[in-house]
Amino acid sequence: MTTAPPLIAEKPKNYLNSQVGLKSWLLTEDHKRIAILYLIVVTAFFFLGGFFAVLIRLELATPAGDLLDSNTYNKVFTMHGILMVFFFLIPSIPAVLGNFLIPLMIGAKDLAFPRINLLSWYIYILGGLFTLYVLLAGGVDTGWTFYTPFSSSYSNGYVIMAGLGIFINGFSSILTGLNFVVTIHRMRAPGLTWFRLPLFVWSHYATGAIMILGTPVIAVTLFLLVLERGLHIGFFDPAYGGDPVLFQHLFWFYSHPAVYIMILPSMGVVSEVISTFCSKKPFGYTFIAFSSIAIAVFGFLVWGHHLFVSSQSVYAGMVFSILSYIVAIPSAIKVFNWTATMYKGSVRLTTPMLYAMGFIGLFTIGGLTGLFVASLGIDVHVTDTYFVIAHFHYVMVGGAIMGYLAGIHFWWPKITGKMYSEGWSKVSAIIVFAGFNLTFFPQFLLGYMGMPRRYHVYPPEFQVLNVLSSAGASILGVGYLIPFCYLLWSLKYGPDAPPNPWGATGLEWQTSSPPPTQNFDITPVVTTEAYDYSSLEGVNVG
């Protein structure tokens, strides 16, 4: 890992230093700069959402409601959910890493619609401002699920503003997905056929499809909720002749696939990281690629498993249960293929690899407990308990955020042109893994024993496990703060990154770090399969 070729004396122009000034950032159409804009705001929302998680875990450290009253607690967990789901998890990997990397990976100069890309960031900001307004004005207490008729007729919170915030934010997601799908279809470099694409691009293609097909449905659902609450034009409240269960169907038609918007991009990151640090072509490339598509397709057919106890017919429940089991198949294919890639590979335990391995373990637990809650009998027992909370945090935090951190660490040298501290980053990866398990594993036990979600008080016999969980949360919090510090530190003091510090394949590693504004000086022509490590021999590795 030496530095750039010695013949370059002064710093070459790249996308970071080619233009200066705030205006050059706020009006940029460069996908790489827009990715940085997203990175900054997404990080801010992550820590704000994390702040509410801290309040939740502090309150639950004791059985009594001694820190927050029940109303405030309702608002706190609602804000935690809204911020983390809609303003962090959904945009995190696609809008930051996908935005930055997709054009680089396919040898394009930019996404197909650069201005729409910038517009999507401003829409995201506008949606975020609505949400911040709700926060400052007094909050909303419906839970992030906004179930009617409580949300439309009884809640005292700022439901309309919160709903509009998510409605607006949805268009940011739609435009990002549209941009990705068109770009992957129409902007690939000469010779870059579909089956030469990196798996990261495949997973983002599947993600884009879900964004396009799912997000408009949540948008129209929240639009109807706002009409019902604001103008008494009823759709869901029985007082207006409506059916509240219809809201749940429409809500989950998007919000279940939204889980795959969060996890599929992580799976793409993990595929890249594992292949690179085993220096092996991923085992079963086409299976991993098509399993992303299969997850996107089947993901749209399982929403009814959120309605097992909502008066849905038992026969519909059985069908949704079987379909939910089917989604486990493509997910399992990925897990087996990643482990098969590692088998007899020369595994290098770098920081991104540690996060990727953490992802495999935690996602497997999250996925398998998903089968528990997808089976009718067990779900009746654990519905609305901490078992469900633990399950989806294993998928969303253990899966999606581990993947996000793997990706941030993997591509940080490419994005910033700087190397971070290997020692600190490895330590924090281990802290995150330990803290995460200590936080959420006890919640499986709590849920199975019957502790319901969304209450700020609980019987004293649950205290030991709750204290373990809160202690784990503090460790997890530290694990998230350390990367924030050393990554910022690396911007100023980190050594310069070579173009390909990890010995990775892929077009993004063939341009300089950080890349020039046009990405490539000459449009690359692709002549080999993806992950062809033999092509790297003798080139700039080591």
């Binding site: 996404l111 770009t183 902007m187 109807l224 034009i233 002749g241």
Partner: protein, 230 residues
């Protein structure tokens, strides 16, 4: 949609405005076309939620829907349907004249499209006003004289206002974009080689028309034979 049009209409000083990140004009037009169709797919899903709600409730309360539907003004609805179909024709002719480089005819047919769209919105406003006067807007003062099952007739009118309102919103946005296109066409921005914004807007306009083609029978024509449904 508007942003989409804005992207492709920028930088018209050259006769062939190729944006820097495309290899050639063909790739650029191709990307715009795919992007527009994908956008229309998102629109189908957007309206789809409302259509689903309509089908669920109509299936559940057929008699209430039939009698409430007869409260709509058949002739105004039919007239508006004709107006919109004509506007699709003028739009298609506009695209045609853009493609063969007849600037004045392009401007004329875009103006006609805008005029017909405005007529539609005017009639719609009159219908809304009429519903308001007769207390047929859902809410506290809702009344439905002669309706079977007035409680669920209110659902019909919720869907009526939700669906036609969302449709009208698309018409208003479309009219705004049309104004911009008319100005650009007048200034001679479009050539036979490059008139992608006109074509893309045509797709949008036809989509909005097609939505109405579904809305008209679903909302106005449930039980015009007067058999009553139970």
């Amino acid at each position: 949609m508007d942003s989409h049009a804005a992207v492709v209409t920028h930088e018209a000083e050259a006769t062939v405005p190729l944006r820097h990140h495309f290899e050639n004009l063909e790739q650029q037009k191709d990307a715009s076309t795919v992007g527009m169709w994908v956008f229309l797919v998102t629109e189908i899903m957007f309206f789809g939620g409302l259509f689903l709600a309509y089908f669920v409730y109509r299936q559940a309360y057929p008699a209430a829907f039939a009698s409430a539907s007869n409260k709509t003004d058949l002739w105004l609805g039919a007239a508006n349907t004709t107006v919109l179909i004509c506007s699709s024709l003028t739009m298609a002719l506009g695209v045609h004249f853009a493609a063969i480089g007849k600037r004045k005819l392009l401007v004329l047919f875009l103006l006609l499209t805008l005029f017909l769209g405005s007529v539609f919105l005017g009639v719609k406003t009159y219908e809304y006003h009429d519903k308001w006067v007769h207390h047929e807007v859902p809410g506290e003062h809702f009344e439905c004289e002669g309706c079977k099952d007035a409680g669920h007739a209110s659902l019909f009118f919720s869907l009526y206002f939700g669906m036609t309102g969302l449709h009208a919103m698309h018409m208003i946005i479309g009219a705004g974009i049309l104004l911009i296109l008319i100005w650009q066409a007048y200034r001679g921005k479009f050539t036979p080689e490059w008139h992608t914004p006109v074509e893309m807007f045509g797709l949008y306009w036809h989509f909005v028309d097609i939505v109405w083609i579904f809305l008209f029978p679903l909302l106005y024509l449930i039980d015009r034979s007067g058999r009553g449904l139970s």
